[in-house]
Homo-oligomer: 348 residues x 4
C-alpha cells in the first residue's frame, strides 16, 4: 500500500533488462554512441519533427537548464504557485538562471488561470528595469494537483506567451500520465499547442534515471551543449540513459505504464466514492489523488502500513477541510497493484 | 582494440545484475532507502571512519560541488595544469563556486610540484583583496597522466594545505586504479594523508553512473544536502546508484576491476618495450598510457580499427617528440581483454 | 513642485563643498585613507559600539551584499511584499545571493505582520531540502509605504529572527527619516532591537552617492572585503564617499535634512486634510505620502508642473479607491521648499 | 612625492566645482536627466558615431559587465597575463560572467603577443564542450606595464577577434593617457580598429568616480540596462557622474590632464637616464614607469617620504634584476607636480 510517490517504485523489468543488454561492449561516450543517436531519433519520430534532445540527471536539472537557456537579467518565470519549480526544487531554477524569479500565478486545481497569468505579465513595463522583466512561462503537465491541462487550456497559455514573445516551457515530469489522460499525441500536446521546450520525464514512470530536455526548435538549443556541460549534467556513459529510453518507448511500454498508473488512481478514486470517511478534494486526471480524510483515520491507515503524505491543501480549498480532517496525497505508478488499491480501500 | 577511454566500456555484468535485482518493490526516494543507508555504511567501513557520502550525477558535479562547499569570494583552487577540473570541465568548477579560479600549478608527469604549489600559494597576501585568496588545493589520483601520487607525495601536498589552512580535495575519478597501484587502503590514501574531501568515482571502473562526494569530517558537510539539491544533483531513485555500488564493493569487485585495468595497461607497456615504432612517454602507474608513435603508423592503426586519442603532450615533454611523431593516449578498463592488447601490439 | 522621489534632489551645499575641500592632495585608495578611517570611526560613535562599515555604490548593492554575506543554498529572505528588495531591484538580491528567494510576507501599511512572518518561516522543515531553507529576515525602515516600524514592532520581528537563528537585516535607504520620526537613537533603532546588518543610505537624504553596509558584529563581516571586491563594489577614491559622509554627520546635518523632509510631508498631509479632491491613503510617518486623487485632477496637477508618480495601491487598499480615482505617491526631501508644498496645495 | 597610484590623487578642481554647480535643483534619476542625456551625447560626438553609454561604479564593474554582456557557458576571455582583469579584480569578471575564465596570454611589456593569442584561441575546437569555448578578447590600453598598443597592434588583435567572431573589449582605465600618447582620436583607437566594447575610465585621470561602458554598436547593448541594474550598478543620482564628465570633457580638460600625467612620467624617465642607482625596466609610453632600483636605496627613498610600490617583475624580465635590486612602479597623475618629480630625482 505504497502511495507516497511514483519515485518510490523501482524500474520496470524490461528497462532493467535493457540495461543488462547494453552493458557489454564498447561505445562512444558523452552522447555520441549509436544507441544515443538512435534514441535521439526516436524523439524526433515521436514528436513528428526534428527536435534537439539532451539527457540530464534530474527533473530539476531539466527545468533549471530550460530556464537557464533563455535567461535574462531580472527575469521572471511565470508558473503556478504549486509548481514543482516553485515549491520543490530548492531554488535550483533561480540558481541556474542567475537569479530569475519564479513568479507565482494562482489558479484552481494546479492550473494557472490564464486571466491571472496575463495580468501578472501585464504588470511589467518594457524598459523599466527596477521591476525586472518577463522571461518565460512554464506549465506542469500533469500538474502537481493531479490534473491535466486540456489542449485548449495549453493553447490559452501559449497565446499569452506568443503575445509577449515569451518562450513556453512544459514541465513533463509526468508527461506520459498526462498524454494518456488526454488520449492525444506528443506533438499535439506540445509544439502544436505552442510549447517551445519540454522537460521530458521518464524516471517517475518506470525508469531508473532518464530525464531529457527537448527543444522543438533545434536553433534554440545552439550553445546548449556547453550549458549542459558547464552545469555538470553531461553523463559520460550516456548509453545507460539511452538503453532505458529504448526499452521505455519499445512497443509503447511507456504509454502502457502510464495508463496503468492512471487506471490505478481511477480505481482508487472510484472506491473512495462509496466511502464515508474519505472524499476526493477534486477530480484527478492522472496518477495523483488528493484526498480529505479524518486525521485519526489517516493515522490508523499509516499504522496498518499504508504509506502516503500529508499535504498542504491549496489556499482556495482550505475552507472545505474540517478541523479534524487533513488532506493527503496518494500517488500510483506502473508498479501499483490493483490489490494494493483494494486493500487500502478495505482498510479505509 | 578500444583504448579511447575507460568510459567507453559499459557496466560489469554483476553491476547490471544488481540493478535488475533492485528494480522490484518500493523504496523511499532521495537517498533515504535501506539500500542507500547500507551503502553509505559501506563507505564508512571502507574508509575506517564515519564519513558523509553524497551521490551526484557526474565526476564534474562531484568536483564542482566540493569546491562550492568551501567557496570564498575571489577564491583560487590550486590544481595541476593538466587536471580535469582545469582542462575538461567547461568551467563547471568556476560556475558552481561562483567564479573561483583554477590556479594551474606545473609539475612533471601530471603531479603538482610541491615547491611550485607552495610558491603559487605564497603569492597571495591575506587582506589584499585585489588578487583574491587561496581557497582549496585539489590533486587528481590517479593523475590525468596515468601516474599515481605516492603516499609521501600526497602528504607533501597536504602539509602545504595545512600550513595555509586550506581544504585538500582529491579528484578520485580513477580512485580504484590508484589504490591498487599503491597497494594501500582507502584510509591511508586519503584522510590519513590529510585529504578532506574526495570525489569518489566508480563510473570509469565498471559502473554505469556512480559518483559520490565523500567528506571525511561530516561536520564539513553540514548544509551540503541543500547545496546538492540546489545544484540539481539529487537523484530521486537513489537506489539505482546504491545498487551499483553495492555490487561494486561486494567481494572486492571494484579492486579486481581496477587491477585488471592496470594489468592490461602494464601488458601494453611491456609489449611496447620491444617496439621500434612506438615508445612510452613516461612510465605509467595505472590504466592510462601516453605513447609516442609515428603519425603515419598511428593513422594506420586507427584504420585497422584501433581507437585511441591524439594527445597534447605536456609542455616539458614537447621537445622529445619528433616532427613526424605524435603523442597518443591509450586507456584500459575492466573490459579490456588481453587479446585486444595483443592484437594492438601485433598491428603496431 | 517636484514630489517624484527624494533621489530627484541633488546634494546639500555642505556636502558639495566637502567634496571640493577633499579634492586636493593625495590620499591612500581603497578605503585606507585617514578620512576613510575617520568616517568609519564616526559610524562606531554613532551606533555606540564598534561596527564594521563598508561603502558600496548603491542601495541595491548594500541590500544584495548583505544577503550574499549570509547566503545559503535554497535560502529564503523574508521581506514585506512591497519591499524594495522584492519589488524594485531587478533580482539583484537573488543574483548576488545565488538564487536566494525573496519570500513575500504581507502586512498593512508596508510593515510585515509578525504573525504572518512567523507562519511563513514555520512552513519550512529543517532537513527537507526540496523547499529550501530560511536564510534571513529584512525589514525596511522607513517602509516603502512611508510608515515607520516602532521600536516594539522591530523587536517583534527580531524575536522571530532569534527564535529561528536568522540574521536580521534592515534596509535603511531612508534610515534618517525613520530615525527622526521615532525621535530615537541609531543604536536603539538597530542592534539594541536585534538588527544584525544595516543598509545605511545617505543618498536619498542629501548626498550624491553614499551608501554603506554596517555589520553590528564585526565578526560577521570577516571575509566581506573580498565579497565586496568580487562584487565590483570597491571604489578606488573612497574619500569621495567619506567626504560626503563627514559633512553629512557634521553638526547633525543628516538629522536636520531628514527632519525637514518629514516636516514637508507633514505640511502636505496637513494641507490635504481640508481638501475635497484628495485624501491620504493612510497616515505617513516619514517623507512619503500616498494620496488618493481623482485621476482627472491628478492629470491637471501634472499639467501645471507638479511631478509625482502613479502608484499601485497595496492589495488591501484597492477597494477604497473609487473608479475615477488613482493612488499617487508624493515624496519630499531636504530640498523641498514650503512654498512648493503650498503651491501644490493651492493648485489642488 | 606620491607615485603609488593615480587613484591616490583626488579630483581636479573643475570637476569638483562642476559637482557644486550641479548640486542644486531637481533632476530625473536613474540616467534620465537632461545632463545625463547631454553627456551621453558627448560620448557619441567624441567617438564620431552613435554609441550606447552606461555609467557604472568601478572599473572592475565596467570590465566585468562587458564580459557578462557577451557571456557564454564555459567561456574564455583572452587577456594579457598581467591584465587588471586577470590580476587585480578578485575574480569579479569570473563571477559576473558566470565562471568565464580569464585565459592568460603572454607578451612582452604588457601587450599580448598576437601570435600567442592566435595559438591560445586555436586550441579550442568548436563543439568539444569539455574544454569550453572562446568568448572574448580584451586588451588594456594603456597596459598595466605603462606601454600603449599602437593602432597597428590593436588591429592585429582585432583581426584575430574577427576571424574567430569574438567581441573585442578594451579596458580603458587609462584610456586618456593612451590616447594622448598615440596622439590619435578616440574613434581611431577604438571602433575604427575593431574594438566593440570599451571600459572608459575617468576616475584615475582626475574624476572622483566616473566609469562608463561604451558599446560601439548600440544593438549589442540591448538588454544591458537590465544587466546593469541586476548587477547593482545603476546609480540613482546619475547626474553626479554626468557632472564630473561634463567638466572632464569641457575644453579638453581630460586630454590636458592626461598629457600632464604622461609628461610627468617622461620627466621622471628622463631624469632616471643619468642615474647610477636606478634604471627603467623598459620604455614607458604613458604615466606608469617600472624602475629597477637597489632595494636599500628604494627603502631610503620611502623613508624620505616617497610613496611607490614594490612590483613583481614580469617573467621575462626577472633575469635582468640583480640580487640586491627590486622592481618598483611609479605612477604619475594630473596632480603630480614637476617639483615632486625633481625632488624624487634629487633624493635618488
Amino acid at each position: 500500500m505504497i502511495f507516497s510517490s511514483d519515485n518510490w517504485a523501482g524500474a520496470h523489468p524490461r528497462i532493467a533488462e535493457s540495461l543488462v543488454k547494453a552493458a557489454g561492449g564498447f561505445a562512444a561516450a558523452y552522447g555520441t554512441s549509436d544507441l544515443d543517436k538512435k534514441v535521439e531519433g526516436l524523439f524526433s519520430e515521436l514528436f513528428e519533427r526534428e527536435v534537439a534532445v539532451f539527457f540530464v540527471g534530474t527533473g530539476t536539472a531539466a527545468n533549471s537548464l530550460a530556464f537557464a537557456s533563455v535567461s535574462k537579467p531580472g527575469g521572471h518565470v511565470f508558473c503556478h504557485r504549486e509548481a514543482h519549480v516553485n515549491a520543490d526544487e530548492c531554488n535550483a531554477p533561480e540558481f541556474f538562471s542567475l537569479g530569475a524569479r519564479m513568479a507565482a500565478v494562482d489558479g484552481a486545481f494546479g492550473k494557472m488561470d490564464a486571466g491571472k497569468l496575463a495580468a501578472e505579465i501585464g504588470r511589467f513595463t518594457p524598459g523599466v528595469v527596477h521591476s525586472g522583466q518577463p522571461m518565460a512561462i512554464t506549465l506542469t503537465q500533469a500538474t502537481e494537483a493531479g490534473t491535466v491541462y486540456t489542449l485548449t487550456e495549453i493553447e490559452a497559455v501559449s497565446t499569452i506567451a506568443r503575445r509577449h514573445r515569451l518562450p513556453l516551457h512544459m514541465d513533463g515530469a509526468r508527461f506520459a500520465n498526462a498524454l494518456v489522460a488526454l488520449d492525444t499525441t506528443p506533438a499535439e500536446m506540445t509544439w502544436k499547442r505552442g510549447v517551445d521546450i519540454l522537460s521530458f520525464g521518464a524516471t517517475k514512470n518506470g525508469c531508473w534515471c532518464a530525464e531529457a530536455l527537448v527543444f522543438f526548435d533545434p536553433a534554440m538549443a545552439e550553445g546548449f551543449p556547453y550549458l549542459r556541460k558547464r552545469s555538470a549534467q553531461l553523463f559520460s556513459k550516456t548509453r545507460f540513459v539511452s538503453a532505458q529510453l529504448e526499452a521505455y518507448f519499445e512497443g509503447g511500454l511507456w504509454l502502457d505504464m502510464a495508463r496503468h498508473a492512471n487506471a490505478m488512481a481511477a480505481r482508487l478514486a472510484e472506491g473512495l466514492k462509496g466511502s464515508n470517511s474519505a472524499r476526493l478534494g477534486w477530480a484527478a486526471d492522472a496518477n495523483e489523488l488528493f484526498v480529505i480524510i479524518e486525521r485519526s483515520r489517516a493515522k490508523a491507515l499509516m499504522d496498518q502500513g499504508a504509506v502516503f503524505y500529508d499535504w498542504h491543501p491549496p489556499r482556495d480549498m482550505a475552507h472545505e477541510i474540517g478541523p479534524d480532517e487533513g488532506m493527503y496525497r496518494l500517488v500510483t505508478s506502473f508498479a501499483t497493484q490493483p490489490d494494493d488499491v483494494d486493500r487500502f480501500l478495505s482498510a479505509l
